[in-house]
Subunit: 166 residues, 2 copies
């Protein structure tokens, strides 16, 4: 008979990738995920209702030359691709910010977007022994291989717990 | 009788603020807008499903100490506040990117968020006479006046058209 007192519920996947496991210089790719016209317009309607993100005709008269996703929408999709491909398996503790985002090319309806994540240097703060920072370059690419978004950010990751014998 | 041939349909508001009208050193504030638990969870479910953005109990075990908005959600709300308060009236041409984003404090359900936008220097590219760049510092504040997000970006704005006599 099932002993309910010992049932274990795991809501969060156990991390498999800790700070120690991330190798500077390693390059991984995640995706693709196709962005639709409906998604572009829905995000823009909520957060960035500039004409170039909402209406094809109005967008043609702008520098973007046609309907294009809000730059913040591209960032949000990049976040989701990194989560699904990497962070879901990692002992991630988030990020304190973003160093830089460059929106290099328009993201169009139907574009199939992928992330190319390059681990750069690692840094271990002296004041905290349980975690470290990994500096990443993070690029979003379309189906032609064009980099549409280039960014850099420091990710925070927990270290593996020491064995009980210290 | 109405002459339909001369009817004018204006879908986009006529801009009132051009590059020339933006004064370096000027500080404007927009908002507030209250962020709800439902909004936080909806955004996170779509773009950033880390436990600290989805579940109160899981979030308590993280560095954020409780349910908090995705940093990208804070960015998107900042964008909307800037649009509604400023860009809707401006001859904005978008932005090529973001120089920096720092997520300084958690954004909690019920927080009333405002934007403080500071125009820093202006720059006129030699290759384009019809527009210029305005460097902004852009802070997102909560109802206690804490800066929860600090960022900087270059906005692009059209110049006023010259009179017909050149």
């Amino acid at each position: 008979m099932l002993d309910r007192g010992t049932a274990i519920f795991i809501a969060i996947p156990m991390p498999r990738i800790y700070f120690e496991d991330i190798v500077p210089g390693s390059i991984t790719t995640y995706g693709p995920r196709t962005i639709t016209r409906e998604e572009i317009i829905a995000f823009a309607s909520e957060f960035d209702p500039q004409p170039m993100h909402l209406d094809e005709e109005a967008a043609k008269k702008t520098m973007l030359g046609g309907l294009s996703a809000s730059g913040w929408h591209s960032c949000a999709i990049m976040m989701r691709l990194i989560y699904d491909g990497f962070l879901v398996n990692a002992a991630s503790m988030g990020a304190p910010g973003i160093d830089e985002v460059k929106w290099l090319k328009p993201v169009r309806p139907g574009d199939a977007l992928s992330v190319r994540l390059t681990a750069l240097e690692k840094r271990e703060p002296k004041t905290r022994l349980d975690m470290g920072f990994v500096q990443f370059r993070c690029e979003l690419l379309n189906q032609q291989g064009d980099v549409v978004l280039d960014s850099a950010y420091p990710g925070m990751f927990a270290k593996r717990k020491r064995e009980a014998a210290e």
